[in-house]
């Protein structure tokens, strides 16, 4: 386990970036910089993080960054990674930093291609469950019931399970993480960095603006997502699937906190009725069943 005290205090995320208060994407970027330091180059498609960088000619992020059109992050990253391979830059880490829209919707074709080719990149999906940059529109990763500016009465469909899609691609490393649990995320990033090929990390990132909660509560909401079991931390590595220790307790339904504690903090769920909550609870149960079954068939003994 990573010890927070041993992490570098230097961060490549600087004051003066253009994020909203309580932004989960800046939290995530800080952890990426702690985990990978100046070995990393970021590829960022359209999304909040295009703006967070701040105004040219300055930048609030200390990484080298190749900004790219919305749909093409995984492809531009593939090109960069090949260039570094040719030039013998062995320890350079090409890191895609893309939103849920840039990953699961418009960018999924390029990501699928890069995964099939097993390009040597770390692809991080920073999942705030909507198109925040354009003003909180639904994405295929918005959860059931959530209000967005294109689902005024609540989304009717469930969240697309992108990490599972990546496992289906046979990627050498797939993991889920949360901005509420930095050490787990950093550990996963470091493990990813040690593996050749396509590493996919799906980072749950509660957004105060889009989810309608107080900016001081980002970490609390992120933790509740794990504690209620609606977000599950796991790792798939070399064909082995394992629930991460931080999520392990919530395999047992009775250990989970009531979902309502998570929902009531967020304005986007304010309108939910009892039936909607039941739909979400059933969804949680069904996902857990699937992950535990996967662990049974694809996992060595759980830790």
């Amino acid at each position: 386990m990573v010890n927070i005290k041993e992490l570098p205090s230097k961060t490549l995320l600087m004051p003066g970036n253009a994020a909203c208060p309580g932004c989960p994407e800046t939290l995530g970027l800080r952890y990426v910089s702690m985990a990978l330091g100046d070995k990393a180059v970021l590829v960022i498609p359209a999304g909040c993080s295009s703006v967070i960088q701040g105004i040219y000619p300055k930048s609030g992020i200390g990484f080298p960054i190749l900004n790219i059109v919305f749909a093409a992050a995984a492809s531009a990253a593939s090109g960069l990674a090949r260039a570094y391979k040719i030039r013998g830059l062995e320890d350079a880490q090409v890191v895609v930093w893309a939103g849920d829209g840039g990953t699961g919707d418009i960018g999924i074709q390029a990501l699928s291609g890069a995964a099939e080719r097993n390009e040597n990149i770390i692809y991080i999906c920073v999942d705030n469950e909507a198109y925040m940059n354009t003003g909180i529109q639904r994405s295929s990763l918005t959860p059931y019931g959530a209000w967005t500016t294109t689902t005024w009465t609540g989304k009717k469909e469930h969240k697309k399970d992108v990490p599972l899609i990546m496992i289906a691609h046979g990627a050498p490393y797939v993991a889920t993480a949360s901005v509420g649990f930095p050490t787990d995320f950093i550990e996963k990033l470091r493990r990813a960095a040690s593996i050749k090929g396509l590493k996919y990390i799906h980072l749950h990132a509660p957004c105060p603006v889009g989810w309608r909660f107080d900016p001081s509560k980002t970490v609390e909401v992120a933790k509740l997502a794990v504690q209620t079991g609606i977000w599950v931390l796991y790792e798939y590595r070399g064909g082995v699937f394992r629930i991460s220790p931080l999520s392990r307790p919530y395999a047992k339904k009775e250990r989970r906190k009531p979902l309502k504690e998570y929902l009531k903090l967020q304005g986007r769920f304010r309108h939910l009725g009892e039936d909607d909550v039941k739909v979400l609870e059933a969804y949680i149960e069904e996902r857990w069943k699937l992950y535990l079954n996967m662990e049974k068939t694809l996992g060595s003994k759980a830790t």
Binding site: G54, I55, Y56, V69, S75, A83, I86, R87, G113
Partner: protein, 388 residues
């Protein structure tokens, strides 16, 4: 220098190999396909030292080539028609990033309805993107333009990506003898890719593309236009140096054939310029003083050269292989502006979607045009569809 029998597409592949391209990312589409096949074959057989990225689309093809070029290596791609439209967003992105890169465009019609034959709609659609755009008449010129494109694109006065057009099937799938320089000759003339204008790599601190103040955005756009103007000179210089190496030169942005004593000229681009030259020869036998001005670079556009060479003529007929819907022949409009419509002018739209246009067609069109001008003194025919 050895003479090889090559199709246009194999010529493109040969040029990419000779230029020591390090990353190729491409997606197949008729009639470009054999470029991708040939390059894949050369790489797999160890004849070309490069990485091939087998992308899942053209949007990704150009994005991957762009990533590689931003990472400091020489990159290349090729496409046609639907593929070029599919990557259009990235076409703009690459130019705005000022990243040197070369892309072959095998010209083809755009659907619907499906049509795989030659047409200039695809390449003409790229005029505003900030790419250098050239177009060849034969396979020899395909080789020469492609090799030169790397030098031009990587010149610090330019730093813009470059497209090289070749007509679908007429060049892409037709075998012709091509004088191919040796690797040593090319190496002596084309140095390895320099790290300019910047390289995105760990520790570089470079960020490409974050939001600027609007004035800076506009300044960057103006700088691209300045680079285009610089390219006019760089294209001439590069061609002169290439001439010393190979003994071949064409006249930079515009090739003029029998123009110096001509009173009438046909302006066009691509392969059918060969037919126009033949038509000019025949018309001259009949006593008509006709020349041909072949556009070699659509961008930067040879406005000055056109004015200089054609401005004093009696009549200029422009042949377009595409249409700007609701306006007319795009090449005609640009030539008319360059000449300030001083000579008599006629716009001919023909050959669209691969409709055949031969020597007789062109000479009869020119003869009729000359007849009208001689009869009326000055004419301005702004749209004439020929063949349908």
């Amino acid at each position: 220098m050895t003479v090889k029998l090559l199709t246009g597409n194999y010529t493109v592949a040969e040029a990419a190999r000779l230029a020591r391209v390090k990353v190729v990312a491409a997606f197949p589409i008729t009639p470009q396909t054999t470029i991708v096949e040939k390059i894949a074959e050369m790489i797999e057989h160890g004849e070309m030292d490069a990485e091939m990225i087998h992308v899942e689309s053209e949007h990704s093809a150009l994005a991957a080539a762009y990533g590689a070029a931003a990472g400091g290596v020489r990159a290349f791609t090729a496409t046609s028609s639907q593929g070029l439209l599919y990557m259009h967003e990235v076409v703009w992105w690459v130019a705005g990033s000022r990243i040197p890169l070369v892309m072959a465009i095998v010209t083809r019609a755009i659907g619907p309805p499906w049509n795989i034959h030659v047409s200039h709609e695809d390449i003409m659609d790229q005029r505003d993107t900030g790419w250098i755009i050239s177009i060849a008449e034969d396979n020899q010129e395909v080789l020469d333009l492609t090799l030169q494109a790397f030098r031009i694109s990587e010149d610090p006065r330019v730093y813009l990506p470059a497209m090289v057009g070749l007509d679908g099937f007429i060049l892409s799938h037709t075998t012709m003898p091509v004088d191919v320089p040796s690797q040593e000759e090319v190496d002596s003339w084309l140095p390895p890719r320099s790290p300019g204008p910047y390289v995105i790599e760990p520790g570089s601190g470079v960020i490409m593309g974050n939001i600027p103040p609007d004035e800076d955005y506009m300044r960057m756009r103006k700088a691209m236009q300045t680079a285009m103007r610089n390219a006019e000179r760089v294209i001439m210089e590069v061609e002169e140096e290439y001439y010393k190496l190979t003994g071949r030169r064409y006249g930079g942005l515009l090739e003029c054939y029998r123009c110096s004593d001509a009173k009438y000229a046909v302006v066009l681009m691509g392969t059918w310029a060969g037919n126009a030259k033949e038509a000019a020869d025949r018309l001259r036998e009949k006593g008509y003083p006709v020349g041909v001005a072949r556009i070699r670079y659509i961008r930067p556009f040879p406005s000055m050269l056109l004015r200089e060479k054609l401005g004093g003529m009696k009549g200029v007929m422009v042949m377009d292989r595409s249409v700007s819907m609701g306006r007319g022949g795009p090449l005609f409009l640009e030539v008319a502006e360059a000449l300030r419509s001083k000579p008599s002018m006629m716009s001919v739209i023909a050959g669209v979607g691969g409709v055949d246009v031969g020597v007789d067609d062109i000479s009869s069109l020119v003869e009729k045009f000359i007849g009208k001008v001689e009869e009326r003194g000055h004419v301005y025919i702004d749209e004439y569809w020929y063949g349908v």
